[in-house]
Amino acid sequence: MTKRKNVTASLTLESARTKHDNWSGFLSISPWLIGFILLILGPMIASLYLSFTDYNLLSSPNWVGLENYRNLFSDARFLKSLEVTFKFVFISVPLKLIFALALAMLFNTGRKGSSFFSAVYYIPSIIGGSVAIAVVWKQLFGRQGAITQILSALNITDTNLIGNPNTALFVLILLVIWQFGSPMIIFLAGLRQVPAELYEAASVDGASKIRQFFSITLPMLTPVIFFNLVMQTISGFMTFTQSYLITGGGPLDETLFYAVYLYETAFEYLRMGYASAMAWVLLIVIAAITFLFFLTSKYWVFYQSEGGR
């Protein structure tokens, strides 16, 4: 009898405690939670609503239903910005990852000073998204910039690479690739996780370095590659600063990134509703692509902990 009583008592106590624990949990995360609700969730809901309206910021929004979304797909500049952004992402992300991996391999050899240099090579990523670097880049590749001068002295080309519609995008891609620091650091951490005995066994079996790379390093790194690929693709789609500051989307809209066109629509042309619709379409595009990556991941990503499944 007493025993049973005890059990019920401890049960109530238990549930009371869980309740308490939840509250203290919510309380501890409340600084983040409040920030999330006020700064992210609220604006997101507002923008979803605005995407169905005609809103010029200066007077109150008018409900227009799906019109903004319908208009998007007959807007030549919108389609152009999609094209440019896809081109940018699909060229810059793989190149950046290859570059980051190559340097991570180099610094993983444990040679003297490799940690110093990996820190040095990380610097561009810290400052690379900044306004200052964009301005420097503009100067370097501009009409009288150092790189333009060198290229023309070497008789390679004497055009201003930023002003030329065929090359402007590649100047921006180059800038983004140069900011390979954060994937490099992650690759470096990944490389250090690869068990040394695998390489030892492979060398005993007489596998060449190249064979070791493709049969050990690469498969063991696939989770890290996957992570980097997803993160870089997402940030690639949202690239703004480089284009806005260096080319302003030009020449001939050849560097009109999605985010730049969105900004132009919202804050220069005051079409907030249309811009909100664009933002949601971008969210859907990014979500779809990320989802695709996850779908394919089971065919190429190797998780050691799952015994290679």
């Binding site: 309380l27 010029n56 200066l58 009409r143 201003n160 002003g163 030329n164 519609p165």
Partner: protein, 436 residues
């Protein structure tokens, strides 16, 4: 134990929130106190765009204003042109516009149609803003029927800035009457001569003002860029085609530099005329002041080319001041505008940098106190007055977007990627989609 720590956590979070709101409250109170403490002192916010020079001069003028009106405090809000409208638009959305804002012709209608501007007519009629010395021509554009939306803080007209010696050297005269075709020939001629002498010559600098120049071109044809109702375009397609043909031939034949060269000068903040690689450029007349500061060359202003003997210049506010509906202190705001318009000492400080002062008394007072380049803008506006036609109605809302579309078409034209006919029909289609 657990309870205690929970309580502690709760208390600290609460404390933090209280502290935050307290701080907010505190700063809010401070401002209010500032307002009322020193017996009825009011604070007005004044916003403008410009470069460092304009900021310095305006701040100095504001100091003078505050010393004359010790009961009014002015809180300046200034930025460059880039970002000015973004900032103002967001303030407008937040019902928090400054009391006085610098206004541009292209935004006047947008702000007016959204009911953000105060009608200044009563303030002008009761003498709070004294426009007795102001000729109507300077204020024409700022009217909407009987309502007055803004007071011009300076006037200018679209013009050509040219290098006096260089044109003399090649025997060129840009007196009224020269034509668009002449500009083409002159620049090719100078270019050929310069290149034979081994010097670089880039040609006519459009200075990214092709849109404004076409405004004039349409007017010379007896049309206008926008129709009177403000819901469509006011010119014929064939007129635009002619203009596009001229622009394209200028660039493709080498009488003007390619688009990317032109833009690299603008973005770099210098000009070909300053550098001597161009003899002339399109500019608003007050721009000669800035251009002259960066060069040894002697510069002067010419009126725009004539078309079949037609001239269609117009004098317009280079910028204006408006009072916004969000202002709680319209009287103080009016006082400030009156001060900027009429105070002689203030205008000495401001050096007519915003354009030719609209008050005749101020112009007279300044005539021997300003640098030569400023004096040239005064003279130019007098010259241009003989070649003007009636001003166009203010541009309709959406003008910014139409201008954007125009620039992009011009860009394709200059890169020779499109024919003038295609360009014209494409542009008209895009512009009408925006305006309708």
């Amino acid at each position: 134990m657990k309870k205690k720590s929970l309580l502690f956590l709760f208390m600290s979070v609460l404390l933090l929130m209280v502290a935050c709101s307290e701080a907010d409250q505190g700063s809010g109170d401070d401002v209010e106190q500032d307002d009322s403490a020193s017996n009825g002192e009011t604070t007005i916010r004044v916003a403008w765009w410009g470069n460092q020079e304009r900021h310095d001069m305006t701040l100095e003028a504001i100091e003078l204003f505050e010393s004359i009106n010790p009961d009014i405090k002015v809180q300046p809000e200034y930025t460059g042109w880039d970002g000015y409208w973004e900032r103002l638009n967001t303030q407008a959305a937040g019902n928090n516009l400054p009391d006085v804002i610098a206004m541009d012709n292209s935004y006047l209608n947008e702000y007016n149609s959204n009911d953000l501007l105060v009608d200044l007519a009563p303030l002008i009629n009761d003498g709070s803003i004294n426009l007795a010395d102001v000729d109507d021509v300077y204020q024409e554009i700022n009217h909407d029927g009987d309502r007055v939306l803004a007071v011009a803080s300076g006037a200018n007209a679209l013009a050509l800035v040219y290098n006096v010696e260089m044109l003399e050297e090649y025997g060129v005269n840009l007196g009224p009457g020269y034509t668009y075709e002449d500009l083409y020939q002159i620049n090719l001629k100078i270019k050929q001569a310069k290149e034979e002498a081994g010097e670089e010559y880039l040609g006519y600098d459009f200075a990214n003002a092709e849109y404004e120049l076409f405004n004039n071109y349409a007017r010379q044809n007896g049309m206008s860029f926008y129709n009177a109702e403000g819901n469509g375009l006011g010119f014929e397609e064939s007129t635009l085609v002619e203009y596009f043909e001229w622009v394209q031939s200028m660039v493709v034949d080498g009488a003007a530099p390619s688009h990317d060269i032109m833009m690299s000068y603008i973005e770099g903040g210098n000009s070909m005329v300053q550098e001597g690689t161009s003899a002339m450029q399109t500019a608003a007349s007050n721009q000669i002041i800035g251009i002259a500061q960066g060069t040894e060359y002697e510069l002067d202003l010419a009126i725009l080319p004539s078309l079949d003997g037609q001239h269609a210049n117009f004098i317009r506010p280079s910028m204006s001041f408006s009072i916004t509906q969000h202002s709680q202190h319209q009287e103080a705001a009016a006082k400030f505008i009156d001060f900027m318009t009429n105070n002689l000492e203030a205008n000495e400080i401001l050096q007519a940098e915003r354009g030719v002062p609209i008050s005749a008394a101020v112009r007279e007072h300044l005539s021997d106190k300003v640098p030569e380049s400023v004096q040239k803008t005064f003279d130019f506006l007098e010259l241009v007055a003989d070649y003007t036609t009636e001003a166009d109605p203010i541009a309709p809302p959406g003008e910014t977007e139409v201008r954007g579309a125009f620039s992009r078409i011009i860009e394709s034209l200059k890169y020779d990627q499109i024919t003038p006919e295609e360009a014209a029909s494409q542009f008209i289609q895009q512009a009408e989609a925006v305006l309708n």
